[in-house]
C-alpha cells in the first residue's frame, strides 16, 4: 500500500438540532486502498460521506482532497474534482434507459455524447450488465441491477475516490458475492480508491484493506479487519457491555 494521502479529514463535526451526528472525526484515506467504514445504526457513517461529498455543509472541520480544501463546496464541484458516490437508498433515473443513465455520468469528462455512450457501454459490461439490458428503462430492472447501474454511473465520472454507501443492503447472499467481486475489480483494475460504508460484516471484512469504526459520531478505532473484529471497544459498541 502506498502512503500517498488522497483524502484528509480534520476534526469534522455536524449537528442536526441537538443531535451531534459527527463529533470531531479525523481520518485519512490513502491512495489505492479499500477502506471499510462501519458502525452501528446512527453512528454517522452516511453523514460523514454526505459532508465529504458536499450534500451537507459541515459545521466545523476541514476536508482536504489531493491537497485542496473542498470543505462545504457544492456536490457537482466535488464530483468534478474526483469524488463519486453511490446511495444507500438507490437513486435510479427511472425514465431513462440504463445506458442513458450511465452516459449522463460519463458526460462529466467529455462533451461528445457518442464517446460518452461508448465509455458507458464499456463500464456497464465491466460491472456485469449484459448488452441486452442497455436499452431497458430504469424502472424495469431488478434491485441488483439498480445497484450495479448506480455503481456504473458513479464510475463513469472517472473518480479517484468512490464512496459506496451500503451497496449490498437488501441483497441475497449470492448477490452479495457478485457485488464483492465487482467492487474488488473496480479497485484493482481501475485503480479507484474506495470508501465502503457497510453493515454486512461478511462483505466488508472480506474486501477491506483497513477498517474505521464510527460510534455515536466519534471515531472509535481503526485498523486491519481482523484486529478491529476482536477489539473489545467495537464488540461493546455493537452488542453492549452487559450479558443479556
Amino acid at each position: 500500500m502506498s502512503d500517498a494521502v488522497l483524502l484528509e479529514v480534520i476534526n469534522l463535526s455536524k449537528r442536526f438540532g441537538g443531535i451531534i451526528a459527527l463529533n470531531n472525526v479525523s481520518m485519512r484515506i490513502t491512495k489505492g486502498e479499500i477502506l471499510g467504514i462501519i458502525g452501528p445504526n446512527g453512528a454517522g457513517k452516511t453523514t460523514f460521506v454526505n459532508c465529504v461529498t458536499g450534500i451537507y455543509k459541515p459545521d466545523s472541520g476541514r476536508v482536504i482532497f489531493l491537497g485542496e480544501d473542498i470543505t462545504g463546496k457544492q456536490p457537482h464541484f466535488i464530483a468534478l474534482k474526483g469524488i463519486a458516490r453511490t446511495w444507500q437508498k438507490i437513486r435510479p433515473f427511472y425514465n431513462m434507459t440504463v445506458i442513458e443513465a450511465v452516459t449522463a455520468g460519463a458526460l462529466l469528462r467529455t462533451k461528445d455524447v457518442l464517446k460518452a455512450r461508448k465509455e458507458a457501454a464499456e463500464i456497464l459490461e465491466f460491472v456485469g450488465i449484459p448488452r441486452s439490458k442497455f436499452e431497458v428503462l430504469g424502472k424495469n430492472i431488478a434491485l441488483i441491477e439498480h445497484k450495479l447501474v448506480d455503481l456504473a454511473r458513479a464510475i463513469a465520472t472517472k473518480p479517484k475516490l468512490l464512496f459506496l454507501d451500503e451497496v449490498v443492503a437488501g441483497l441475497r447472499p449470492h448477490e452479495v458475492d457478485v457485488i464483492a467481486d465487482v467492487v474488488k475489480k473496480v479497485n484493482r483494475e481501475m485503480g479507484i480508491t474506495l470508501g465502503v460504508i457497510e453493515h454486512v460484516m461478511r462483505f466488508v471484512m472480506n474486501i477491506s484493506d483497513r477498517i474505521v469504526v464510527l460510534h455515536e459520531g466519534r471515531l472509535l478505532t481503526q485498523g486491519r479487519p481482523a484486529e478491529v473484529a476482536r477489539d473489545p471497544l467495537v464488540v461493546e459498541a455493537y452488542l453492549g457491555t452487559k450479558p443479556v
Binding site: P75, H76, F93, N95, A104, R153
Partner: protein, 312 residues
C-alpha cells in the same frame, strides 16, 4: 413540413381552417418550447403566458406607438423574456425551490404580470390596427403568417431534437429524474435548469407577437393563468420529453377543443369544457405516461420500414 405547407391548398384557402391550422401550429410551438423546461428538465412551469404576454405585447406596442417592425420587436421580446426568466429562475433555483412550489411560484408570475400591466398601462384592451405587409408581419389573409409560424415550429422541433441528443439533454433528463443524484455525478443543476428556463422563455417571447396577431387583440388578459396551465396539460398529456407525443397532443387537443366549442358551445355553454375534461381523464387513465407511448412506437415502426432497423 411538406404536409403542413400543403394544408392551405387542401382546404382551398378557406380562411377559417387556415386560422385554425395557424393556431394549432402556434400552440404546438409553445407546448414544444414548454417541453424543454417541463419535459426534459422536469420543472412544472405554469408561466408560459407571462413570457408570451411580455414579449408579444412589447413587440406589438413598439409597432403601434413607434412604427418599429415586429421583426425587431420579436427578437427584443425574446431577449426581455429571457431576462425575466433569469430574474425569476436564479433565486428559485438558488434556494432549491422545486416540485409544487416551483409550479406555484411560476403561476404567481402570470398573476403578477397581469396586475403590473394594469398598473403600468391602465386596464388596456387593444385591437391591432389594420397594418399590412411583411414589415408588420400581418396580412389580409392568414396564409403568409401560417407559413412563417410553420418555420418557427420547425425551428422549435429541431431545437428539441438537438437538445435530446446533446449533453444538455442528458443532463436535463438526469435532473428531472433525481436532482440529488444528478448533482452527485457532477451536474451543475442550477446552471442547467436556468439554461432550460431561459431557452423556453426566449422562444415564447419571440412567438408572443404571432400569437397576438392570430388572436387579433391583446389586453391585460393575455397574461392568462388558465392558458398557461393548458400548455402544461398538453406537455403532460403528450408525454414528458417526447417531441412526437407533445406535437400530436397539441394538434389534436386544439382541434378537438375547437370542434367541441363550435358544435356544442351554442347548445349548452360550458359543455365543451366538460367533454374536454372527460377526454383528458380518459388519457390519464389509459395512457398515464402520455401519448408518447403510442407515437414513439409509431415513429419506430416508420423508421424500421424505411431503414430496415432502428439505428443507434
Amino acid at each position: 413540413m411538406v404536409a403542413g405547407a400543403s394544408i392551405p391548398f387542401l382546404v382551398g384557402f378557406n380562411q377559417y381552417y387556415i386560422l385554425l391550422a395557424l393556431q394549432s401550429v402556434i400552440v404546438a410551438s409553445i407546448a414544444l418550447a414548454w417541453n424543454i423546461i417541463g419535459g426534459y428538465a422536469g420543472q412544472l412551469d405554469l408561466a408560459s403566458f407571462a413570457y408570451i404576454g411580455l414579449g408579444g405585447i412589447l413587440a406589438t406596442m413598439l409597432m403601434m406607438e413607434y412604427n418599429i417592425t415586429p421583426w425587431a420587436g420579436m427578437f427584443l421580446g425574446a431577449g426581455i423574456s429571457a431576462a425575466l426568466a433569469f430574474v425569476i429562475g436564479y433565486p428559485l433555483f438558488r434556494f432549491g425551490i422545486r416540485g409544487v412550489w416551483y409550479a406555484l411560484s411560476t403561476a404567481a408570475l402570470v398573476v403578477i404580470l397581469h396586475e403590473v400591466s394594469i398598473m403600468v398601462l391602465g386596464p388596456f384592451d387593444y385591437y391591432i390596427p389594420l397594418l399590412e405587409g411583411w414589415y408588420y408581419l400581418r396580412f389580409r389573409t392568414w396564409e403568409n403568417l401560417y407559413y412563417f409560424s410553420l418555420i418557427v415550429l420547425a425551428f422549435v422541433i429541431s431545437l428539441n431534437l438537438y437538445i435530446s441528443r446533446s449533453k444538455v439533454g442528458y443532463y436535463l433528463k438526469a435532473i428531472r429524474e433525481d436532482e440529488v443524484a444528478a448533482e452527485a455525478v457532477g451536474i451543475d443543476i442550477r446552471k442547467y435548469k436556468l439554461l432550460a428556463l431561459m431557452t423556453y422563455a426566449s422562444i415564447l417571447g419571440f412567438v408572443g407577437y404571432i400569437y397576438i396577431v392570430s388572436q387579433r387583440t391583446f389586453s391585460y388578459n393575455t397574461f392568462s393563468g388558465p392558458q398557461s396551465v393548458y400548455i402544461a396539460i398538453i406537455g403532460i398529456v403528450g408525454g414528458l420529453g417526447s417531441v412526437s407525443g407533445v406535437f400530436t397532443a397539441a394538434i389534436i387537443l386544439k382541434i378537438v377543443e375547437e370542434y367541441l366549442r363550435g358544435y356544442l358551445g351554442g347548445a349548452l355553454p360550458g359543455l365543451h369544457l366538460l367533454l374536454f375534461g372527460v377526454l383528458l381523464i380518459t388519457v390519464g387513465i389509459l395512457r398515464p405516461e402520455g401519448l408518447s407511448s403510442l407515437t414513439d412506437t409509431l415513429v419506430k415502426k416508420v423508421k424500421t420500414r424505411i431503414w430496415g432497423g432502428v439505428r443507434e
